[in-house]
Symmetry: C2
Subunit: 415 residues, 2 copies
């Protein structure tokens, strides 16, 4: 894997054994690598990326104006500010609390503004430490499992089953309606749950989440609920875990502006940690998270925070809904394309991801065939865990013309 | 410390024992708390903050214009971009490499752009894991020790000596010219070293750093070198550890834009990890750091990155030097004030911090007396470790008028 010249100085520091447990590359850089290789092979091809969930539509002007205004203000004596509070600016915390948790008694002080959900997931893992056990949906966004491996919560990767030891995988597939059979799930300290789900695109119902909260409560578990795609929900599925009675005593919610307003590049998210959530000795989890944030993080960029505040103005919210609407229509177009070709298609309705079934095939084979024959980059389902094998995740993030072109190529390939 | 109602649901998750080892509050939030209490007590007082190292001068317009332009571009089809590379934008990485490491053969690909030095220190600790041993200057910026405690690298806090077990503290005081006597320092895996130092304001000389690099090499240690204040150096002390021959085989450098251009709020820094730095098995440290960055971090805000790029243009560099010059003059004014009052004063010449000696007194007592009698917030030296007791750190970040006023009050108090 690597070669070292005979003359090189080596330190006497042992490599962290947990890093060595990690398998291959992190999924998305690996896809980027294959995409680059493909472009080298076909320099003339019009490559379309429906792979990584990266937004493509310009940020609404009401939001960028807010940020430009803040940038200019920073060069004036009156408008200048340095470090803000580690937890985020008061006004933004209040706006998040009232916009997303208005009736749910999640308060301004429960909100920790951050540079994004992925960073917060890792900070939560650092806070929990290496002695907790964790459960995760399978398939799932790789950051939950990989951060758990890095922190030393897991055993080795078991090649035969393609799973890490000491993680409870909760299988989510068409057979169980993408909601795990909790009667077969062992108790763990932490349960990661993402809804609307990345990659399957499925949103859990109120009844399912009520069962999940009860399951966490019965087991004394902490539920880390990732709602980064909540704004894509079209039906009456809950937008927040805190819509479920009793959730404040068992759950943390991680969320983000990234997928709402084209703001993946702004690096702005938040985590809500209710004061009611307690460790077994009665110590409030929020107190430890506050300490983690103060010690291992500075602040989210103040210009991005100004953007977040603009997002939550009435005009900003309207603009965000419009952008989200564009992606949701894209999802519809992709769903219709694959459905018309006879594939079983999931997700798409409450999420910007369409989960297409290729029964009996390897995801990476399908990924490669699609890339080779249509020049479209997708994401292989097995990248999210072995239960994702046989699936491809197609992202609805793309300009309309590109999405239509990709669907045309899919239709040529699979007609 | 906390009370829990008899009716409350408690999870069965044990609190991370490492979190419980941490002492009191993180230093700066504690100071903020005391400052707020003081302002409640004296609502009419003109409180001056020379405590936390937070910049006060407006960001030069060449930099904010760059950011505003980027913000506006993000609302256009042509100018829009989503997630950038986790490692930072190519152009910014290249500009950092050529501006700060031009002759030192640190390359674009060795640079990881981040949301700041504090976050990178924590990410490095997560990468190293819980089985390494570490050494740290004493006194030192609290994030090195606290992140080490959180990761489980240390023993318990020993109240009698006010130190954690299993950390090698390298005492830096006037007697040793603020450079540790390496002959008394035990071997550790990791050595944190900050120069120009926070809080003492001392910059290590070329000869001292040559010894330090040799010490790390002989011991097979990894040196994590924090150069966040390098631009404040006035004499010929090295600005980068990589000026020392052989450093690339032993060192990582963490740095930041925060203290250069009033950009503490932009959350933008970088870490340089040379390819030549290897674990004991020959595995490149940079490969693991890249994995950590991809898995636990998204990107630094793209608008902040545009600001960073503007910083490194010829006009941006000139503007940054001007701002840094203002703070350096402030440091001079503060040094002169305390010197004229007969205090022994250190730092200030190569750093925005002045380290004032109050022999035989407790730092917190001095802090409280200064706050009570002059309404000026400083930082108690003991907040950086017991060797800092008897010292006060006075920050040079402040408007000129405020700094002059603070010095006037110091002169009234200590005349």
């Amino acid at each position: 894997m690597f070669t070292v010249c005979c003359e090189a100085h080596m330190t006497k520091v042992s490599r962290n054994a947990n890093m060595d447990k990690l398998q291959a590359g992190y999924l998305f850089p690996e896809i980027a690598r294959r995409r680059s290789a493909h472009m080298l092979k076909y320099p003339e091809a019009q490559v379309i990326s429906l792979g990584i969930g990266d937004t493509t539509e310009p940020i609404p002007e009401v939001i960028t104006s807010g940020m430009a205004k803040k940038a200019h203000a920073l060069s004036t004596l009156e408008g200048y500010s340095g470090y803000g509070a580690e937890q985020g600016e008061k006004q933004l915390r209040a706006a998040i609390a009232s916009t997303y948790y208005g009736d749910l008694s999640i308060e301004e002080s429960d909100i920790f503004v951050s540079d994004g959900a992925k960073s917060d997931i890792s900070r939560l893992q650092v806070m929990f430490g290496s002695n907790v056990t964790m459960a995760v949906q399978e398939p799932s966004y790789p950051a939950y499992v990989d951060s758990s491996v890095i922190l030393g919560q897991t055993g080795q990767f078991q090649k035969d089953v393609e799973k890490y030891g000491n993680i409870e995988y909760m299988k989510c597939n068409p057979e169980n309606g993408f909601f795990p059979d909790l009667s077969t799930v062992s108790r763990t300290d932490i349960i990661f749950f993402c809804s609307p789900n990345n990659p399957t695109g499925n949103a859990a119902t109120r009844e399912q989440l009520t069962r999940l909260v009860q399951f966490a409560k019965d087991n004394g578990s902490i539920l880390v609920y990732d709602s980064a795609y909540a704004m894509y929900i079209s039906d009456d599925s809950p937008r927040s875990i805190f819509e479920i009675p009793g959730a404040k005593e068992v759950a943390i919610e991680v969320s983000s502006f990234s997928k709402y307003a084209g703001s993946t590049g702004l690096a702005l998210g938040w985590t809500a940690v209710p004061k009611e959530l307690l460790y077994s000795d009665g110590f409030p989890v929020a107190k430890d998270f506050n300490r983690i944030v103060c010690t291992t993080f500075n602040v989210a960029s103040n210009i991005s925070q100004a953007g977040g505040l603009a997002c939550l103005s009435p005009e900003g919210l309207e603009a965000m809904h419009k952008v989200v609407g564009v992606y949701k229509e894209n999802a519809n177009i992709i769903m219709e394309a694959f459905t018309s070709l006879g594939f079983s298609v999931y997700g798409g309705k409450n999420a910007p991801y369409v989960w297409v079934h290729f029964p009996g095939q390897s995801s990476w084979d399908v990924f490669s065939e699609i890339l080779e024959k249509t020049h479209v980059v997708t994401t292989p389902g097995s990248g999210f865990g072995p239960a994702g094998d046989g699936f491809i995740r197609v992202s609805a993030f793309g300009h309309r013309g590109t999405v239509l072109e990709a669907c045309k190529r899919f239709k040529q390939l699979y007609k």
